[in-house]
Amino acid sequence: MKKAISEHEHGGIGQVMGQPPAHVADAPPVLVSDLSVRFDGTTALEGVTFCISEPTTMAVVGPNGAGKTTLLKVIAGIYPPSSGSVRVYGYGPVSHICIAYVPQRTQVDWRFPVTVADVVMMGRVKKLGPFRWPRKGDWAIVDHALDRVGMVDLRQRHIRALSGGQQQRVFLARALAQEAEIVMLDEPLTGLDAPTQQAILSLLDELRADGVPSLVATHDLSLASEHFERALLLNHRLVAEGTPEHVFTSENLQAAYRGSLHIVSGDAGPLVLADTHCEGEETAP
């Protein structure tokens, strides 16, 4: 699979149908350079540049409509960049089959007739190849993935009969079965109670320990600042990127959220009050 990187840029049919390319030695997991994405004249992302140089957990934070989902989808190779470039382990995203994208729970048809094990098996469809049905060994991989997220006992359960946290863990197991080398999760923590959120976050830490970085879109600033190694603050443009202490300064937050954020100085440092569900035109104090 020794090919020039430029050949992989647009992922021709040969690479799409074939096995994934070997990684470029020492290439960073994610390298985004001057990325812009436009849809029908509206700009979702503009001039975004950052690098994830080693396995980590990164929170992608910003107000509603800031382009968080778009950023994850471009890195996953679901949308093409309008300009700029995205490299995942040195190659364009569309030449990888090892990028897992976990959709928002509201985007999934939970009435679809599949069991927990069926959903996880879907992560293996490409590795199985056409014309083949899963065999014993494939189901063993599925069970192993479910075991890692603590869901193996529910393997025959229909996905509708799961709690929100269990649904999220099924999709994480699917990423494991996919042998994902990087995982994107869109709002995985929304609507979950604190212990369930903690369970998901621990799984992301385990993934990182295994060398798998994760990018997590969230609008929860406190979770982002307390539970992630890195944070990326977005509002169409990149506002700040780095460790949470470095990113979540009042200056950066004001720049990202503009009117929809209040910063109050309290005894234990600045207190941030954000209302990211509301696109109101409040003025900052």
């Binding site: 996953a76 994208y101 048809d109 007739p113 599949v114 879907m122 929100g164």
Partner: protein, 287 residues
């Protein structure tokens, strides 16, 4: 003995045996593909496609060609054109389909109306002519139907992924557009196969009703397909008896049988869920 005699009597006629064979094959193939139609919310598309094949059917009929060839050509090209239109159109997808669907149907009816036997011909095309099935038709239905089933078996898991989670299909770099077009071509083929059994106007029922019934009962895709095929074949058999003894048109009788099964299952499942106190959790709630 009288019962057995009553059950066997209709099939002492060769045309009834051929009709039954055709109806059962259609009753199996339609619901298997129809399962994807139901799960992907393509019911309107399927109905439109069934009507769009009409000009092709009529043209072949007027020229004295095999009807299936005209229908296949019209159906496959329409499926691919609409698939393309709906992806990047200036009008909404259902509007585009509606315009093409109604226009093509009118064209087919207008073409047919130049003939003297207009009313009879139109009735056969709209509602099927099961008792007029010839031996050669049976071979055509069997061959095309088997081809559809084999294709679905070959791409079962890929079709499942593009139906359940198209984004996963993209990140797995499956050929999504190619798979979607393949499914549309299969739909066109199935519609052609079903024309003689249930006709243009009622194909939708065989695609949607048995599969919808099966989704109420079982929770795995493969079982939905198998159960839908059993319901479809059973409806075909029951419909033919209804047709024979009550002197009903066979296509509508088959569809009525399938609809009755749906109604009963819907009522029973609804009652079971209420009495067992089974609470289906919404994904938004958490525990």
């Amino acid at each position: 003995m009288i019962l057995i005699q009553g059950l066997l009597e209709p099939f002492s006629h060769a045309f009834m045996v051929r009709g039954l064979a055709a109806a059962i094959m259609v009753g199996i193939v339609c619901p298997v593909l129809g399962t994807y139609v139901v799960l992907r919310g393509m019911a309107f598309f399927g109905d439109a496609l069934a009507h769009i094949v009409l000009p092709g059917v009529v043209l072949a009929f007027l020229l004295g060609w095999p009807v299936a060839i005209g229908a296949l050509a019209a159906g496959i090209s329409a499926a691919l054109v609409i698939g393309r239109l709906s992806q990047r159109g200036r009008v909404a997808e259902d509007t585009a389909i509606g315009v093409v669907f109604a226009g093509a149907f009118a064209l087919g009816v207008a073409m047919l109306s130049v003939r003297g036997s207009y009313a009879v011909d139109l009735t056969h095309i709209l509602f099927g002519d099961l008792l007029g099935v010839r031996g050669v038709d049976l071979w055509l239905i069997a061959g095309l139907g088997l081809g559809v089933l084999v294709t679905i078996a070959a791409f079962y898991k890929e079709f499942m992924v593009i139906s359940f989670d198209p984004l996963l299909a993209t990140t797995l770099r499956l050929p999504v557009t190619w798979l979607r077009n393949l499914m549309l071509v299969l739909l066109a083929v199935v519609i052609v196969v079903s024309l003689q059994a249930v006709g243009v106007a009622l194909v939708l029922a065989m695609l949607v009703t048995p599969a919808a019934t099966a989704t109420l009962i079982t929770r795995r895709l493969i079982w939905v397909m198998i159960l839908a095929a059993v319901i479809g074949a059973g409806s075909s058999l029951a419909g033919l008896y209804l047709s024979y003894y009550l002197n009903l048109a066979s296509g509508p009788a088959i569809v009525l049988a399938a609809t009755a099964v749906f109604g009963v299952v819907y009522a029973v499942v609804g009652r079971r869920d209420r009495t067992s106190g089974m609470i289906v959790r919404s994904p938004a709630s958490d525990g």
